[in-house]
Symmetry: D3
Subunit: 333 residues, 6 copies
């Protein structure tokens, strides 16, 4: 059992049921989630000792976050309590040709309003992995500084650094992101980054060859940042809001691996699919699995996530393995 | 903002949830709708000043109709109150190979029982468009007379006349319909009519050529009724109760246009799909859009309607446009 | 039909179902409401021509507010669109001894952030009544100024001014409120104010006699503010979160009237009960009803509101009258 | 096991959930019921061999009625299939001071439209009891004749005749009812009739003594109709729509008995409470129970019915007995 | 109307709603079913006089089973009451690639604990068909003996014997099953058995030809057991938990027939699909339909079953025929 | 933060919604609970470090138990995995005069089938309190031995022993219980026991005086077992299944204290009310609160539990205190 810390914002998602418009909906389903919290839960499901570091208000919504995380065995001792509010967002579920629609109401949240590091020096002691994403530094300039200083402190304490670029255009510009990435990527060990990240943030020229396009981008990114030993990303084809195909790839110290293509139809809830993938890759790496085993597990975990309501992957490693073994849709009696 | 009147019956639909048989269902979802009411709501969503003329009982179900229409901004000053009852129908939702099943209980409704014109002379003043459908004259001989006299009065007041043939075999025979259509079509400006209407009600010989079959029928219909400047219809392929393809076409003063083919999968609720199409075409015409813009918008609006529970299209023009631009199923974050 | 404007904030209420804690709830019922919006809806139900003036964000939650208001026939032409967000609050429903619990998340709303008057000069033309409450000036100093200037403008245009003190300790101090009230009360015609308001904000000494305590406070308040011709308030005994008694009183140009005591058991939803009362009083006054008729209707309307989910009173005048006539709980077959 | 036939109309009830207005409700609960059908089900629950004679349309709603009756073991061989429609009614559930509200939509039903006797001569063979109510003859003059002729035929075949006066002012006038009752009551053996029935339909002068008022009315009714050996009724005090008290009384061949007073709080569903009482009395009589045992069981069964959704009493005799023995609200572990 | 007896266990199924994991589910849908009970219901829907023989506990769950069966017109006079408990199982609904998952909790049930024949000698009198499956003898050695002796008794009384092999690996080994089958198959007239049954239990060598594989297996099985005049089975392709194809085949006294291939997408509930097929075949045989008519009806009935929640086929013969005639997904207005 | 262990069985409760009979219910709410698990959760809510020792099957229902306990912060390291099944029971919710009804299906559970101690020697190290109840030794003779040996081991390790007699007549006879109690009570420090326990299991003669009856029983019990320093119990008056009064009393080293009487109306869910009381008392004792403070908190916590669905008390100490301070039903805005 490995000690892991993930850090980020967790929000309340309020979503409509399928076929009902947000503006006419008399009820919302409530789910709690956020990229790094979702990764924490997946890793806890896989048997790791995971703490989620964040900040939530000292009210019932903050308590709800605690209940949600503890339910899945995530340690909440680094979950700070206080500040003005919990970030929320509203989601009108998509179906068929009609895509989901999101309204954010996240400004001024307890996490976003953090101004100085509120965690003790000692938190990274005996921690094997520290995972953050690009959403956190996107929240404010303060958070850019805080993210960097926390990563540096983790690095110093001997943690491996995992970073998911996860660019969100509503939160910062590509220029702001690129500037920040230049500072943090030299500190990173494992990085979730794909073709667009390579082109936009690392100025890697577009691939023009006939070969394996992703391999090219992974190699180029590794040339830019030789410290990063692992790159990974998914290739998703959006057939409709109800049907997607999904394939995962990774590049691990020069070794490239790709999963089978999963056809996800129907999609129950797409939110958190990327986080399930990320957690699967990290689990494979932490467990010393082969690149192929790792990418198979991670992509299968992500496909499974799409079949469940809520942001987090609720499957154990044994369940993911059983899913991979059984093939599509066979009943397990 | 154009003043529009639509006239017709509005009913209560009681439907089961998916996978439950009507004869075993302990609950029903309640929706209010009818072709002309649905058109009224769509046109109100697009910014027009729309009145819906009908009659509902002076009880809570009549009030429910008013709430429903006002919710979407439709004016109810022409919605009469009185008479015996609200027409109802029961729908067992279809799924996959199993089609939806409908039980009508509409006889003797407040609208069907109207015996003489109950609206004032002045209602068509400053009205640009009057929309009716073939369901209304199918209700009774009285309603055939009333429909004709209302259309004539509207015409006299300067309204454009929109007519949706919408033949329902449970309400009248093809002979009865054909006889009525011969009287009303010479008064019509915009007509929703397709291949079957052309063959059955206008005695147009079946197309035997290799070219554009619909164009042939539209041209032939226009030869019969040169007063009708606009014909339009959809071509739907029923793959199953859960998946259809849909394409719209129109013929506008000699100009033919066809939309892309939409694949609607899964279908949330098919009821009202044709009305959403009709309203989209009328909006395009009223707004002076090109034939191509018009048919694209109308067909997209109809496809969107299929993704929502309830009879009426709940999307604004901006939302339809965004849907057309985004492509299938991409999340709008 | 009298033209009326009410102005105030409208919020989204997210509430749990009975017997479920907020921190463990996986779904929320969504209701839209606010004191002045609720009054607007009640008055529209009673047949008045009511506009609700407020500001909501230009997103689906803003549209939901529009749908809600239009459903009940409230005009939305003074409902501005824009600004950062819709104020929200969470409510854990109470039951028996356990009271409801509220978490506000209303800071920074589109309405609260209004900095200058955004309505045209002409809005009060032909308006008989302008209704505001003490919640609006409590939002900010800006809103104190705006409230005063709007009231003055309305007064100048010939409107009667209705003001509901509705003190909320979470929004401002009693000192701040008292200072504001000294400025606005001299402009008011109809005022919802009770014993505590009299004591705290008008420095009226506590009653020590044996007679009608409320009559004393109404008379004293009228001495302070002879311009106010109508005072009214309810006396509520909280037996539990599920059972209350409620009695209404008013003082109208020297005439005192009290309703019967209603026993409300069980309470379905208490939110908006005061607004239903206020609207009932205003309707009685606008309709020239006697003081007794007015207070009977207003208190009955408030009692009825408690039996319905959602913030607004959904009953017409005829329904309230029927309720008063029928007595408690007899079926109307 | 005694053979019993009950005859009457069965309808679909569409009701709102508590705290939701009919005119704003997006869903209805569906229950099937009618006085004589409810009595049939209760008697089947008590172990009798009961047939329900009625007519329902040959569609899914007719099938739903069959499923409902068979579920409880009622024989459907006398349930005719055909005719125009199933009678329906809408119910807005009451709560507290606000009473339930009913909208009937029963005109023209398959049962009401029956014009001549559609059952074979042989149906009353070996039948011990034939039960009808005053609702059936209220439907039409045809049904008055039919009811009389069926009762006469049953009487001739040796059945005991049970009749529940059950006057409904919406269906016929008191004069019409009185005229009919004069014809049928001389044929009746067991009669559900109370104080108001005695006064209004049998011209019995109001009681002015100090003694047992109900005993007086029962005795007077028996003097008018010495053929009727059993009279029974309930005394209900409506504290609110959510709380009633209920006491049952009967007069059996000169013997008077009264039950304890039940306090029913909260009421889950009041519909069918009288039918549960009636069936309990008939079961006691058919089983040779003492008057006291009979009235205790019948009133307890009625009280239990109020705690269950749906029109019919779902309790066996053993369960009613256990309820009587346990006292109020003690858990049966 | 033919008299039929089916015998087997009936269980309570507790299932999650789609997209919710069993381990996180706060509610379960309750369905009652079992292979032979499902066959009984289908045959009753088709108009036969069917008794279901089984044993359920003398508690509310036992009563629920009775309600369920009676609802569909199945006679319960052979349904014994007593014993320790009702077998239950939990089902996590599958969706897309994720298969359904089942947890059995059936040990020690009232049916499984039967030790000696508890039915009277006379039950098979005038019975045309006795149907059992391989699940019953799999429950215990006692049940193997009981099954054989009941089948022998039925055979002696002149019943046709229908047997569905339905091998369940969780209940017994293939060796145990094979040994039992050698004893029972010589008594059987109609047998549901496919390719795997032929290979595993009848030691028929795998087909190596290019022709009709199923015909080969049916012929070979008939050579082993010439007493069996009818073999039938379905060929199901599991595309995913949400989409399957299904084709039925049968071999009737040398005559082979195959249905069209149905594409079932989406699947609402797969449980009981095989039982609906089996009942359809038996109905065709009992009705003297041609092999083609029989297999078309049976496969269509099975496809329909997949579109409905619950274990049992809820369709009449007329509805299945209408479904076959209408084609996929066309609305029946 | 005190280390506490509670040990006992935890079961799945499947309950109907209010007003629906178990035998007609198509869905069940699922709650996990058991006396000692409920106590564990309450104590964890109060800030203690609590482990729940039990055994659940290695399937999804076992995982569900883990999720439930972790949600509330209870440590699951002593929760063993394995064995045949999770005990279940079905509850038909009571309402008004109709009591709840329970059907147990708990035989053969993983916990009941434990044959030898499966926990390590070290578990009681540094543990301040070990809590068990009379339900566990009632399960089997093996469990009587195991309970005694675990209590002795705990005692030896320095734990205080808490014991809740909680006699269940369905599990063992009063003689069996009395025999066991004679063995365990000499080891107990804190004991939940009331008047009936005193009379039945400790042969204390019935009180005949005029004074404080409970004080008498507590004193007498203490004379029998001077080692027990704390006795406590509740006095509940069952007005109906929907309304109870509740008062708590305790006797602590000679000091008697009683709470106010709570009127609980309506009752949302009574299950676990006693466990909430027990945990409140233990928390008061562990925190060194006065007897009055302790009994007030414990009884208030129990009253609060009745207002929430599910077996466990979900309130923190601060929330219970706020509830005590606020009085009945006042909203906390």
């Amino acid at each position: 059992m490995t000690r892991i810390i993930t850090l980020g914002e967790i929000m309340l998602r309020l979503s409509t049921s399928s076929g009902v418009r947000l503006e006419q909906s008399g009820r919302f389903a409530a789910h709690y989630g956020g990229g790094e919290a979702n990764v924490a839960i997946s890793l806890a499901n896989y048997g790791h000792d995971v703490s989620f570091a964040s900040k939530v208000p000292a009210n019932d919504l903050g308590k709800a976050v605690t209940h949600h995380l503890r339910n899945y065995g995530v340690d909440c001792s680094l979950l700070l309590s206080g500040g003005p509010r919990l970030g929320t967002y509203y989601m009108e579920s998509g179906v068929g040709e009609r895509a989901a629609k999101v309204i954010y109401d996240r400004a001024g949240s307890s996490f976003a309003e953090i101004k100085t590091n509120e965690w003790s020096e000692a938190i990274f002691k005996d921690v094997a992995l520290f995972h953050v994403s690009g959403i956190t530094p996107a929240l404010s300039e303060t958070w850019r500084d805080l993210t960097l200083s926390l990563v540096k402190r983790a690095k110093k304490a001997g943690c491996k650094i995992s970073f998911d670029i996860n660019y969100r255009g509503k939160l910062w510009t590509t220029n702001e992101a690129a500037a920040f990435l230049k500072e943090i990527l030299p500190l990173v060990d494992y990085c979730s980054a794909g073709k667009l990240d390579a082109q936009v943030f690392m100025e890697i020229p577009a691939y023009t060859g006939q070969g394996n396009e992703l391999l090219y981008y992974y190699q180029q990114m590794n040339q830019r940042y030789p410290n990063i030993e692992l790159f990974y990303s998914t290739k998703r084809e959006v057939l409709s809001a109800s049907a997607n195909t999904l394939m995962g790839t990774l590049w691990n110290n020069g070794q490239y691996a790709a999963s089978q293509e999963h056809r996800i139809d129907p999609i129950v809830d797409r939110v958190g699919g990327g986080d399930a993938f990320c957690a699967g890759v990290l689990h494979g790496i932490l467990s010393g699995y082969s690149s192929q085993e790792t990418i198979d597990l991670a992509t299968a975990a992500s496909a499974l996530k799409h079949t469940i309501h809520g942001d987090c992957n609720q499957f154990t490693e044994a369940e993911v393995a059983e899913f991979l073994a059984a093939g599509s849709g066979k009943i397990i009696r």
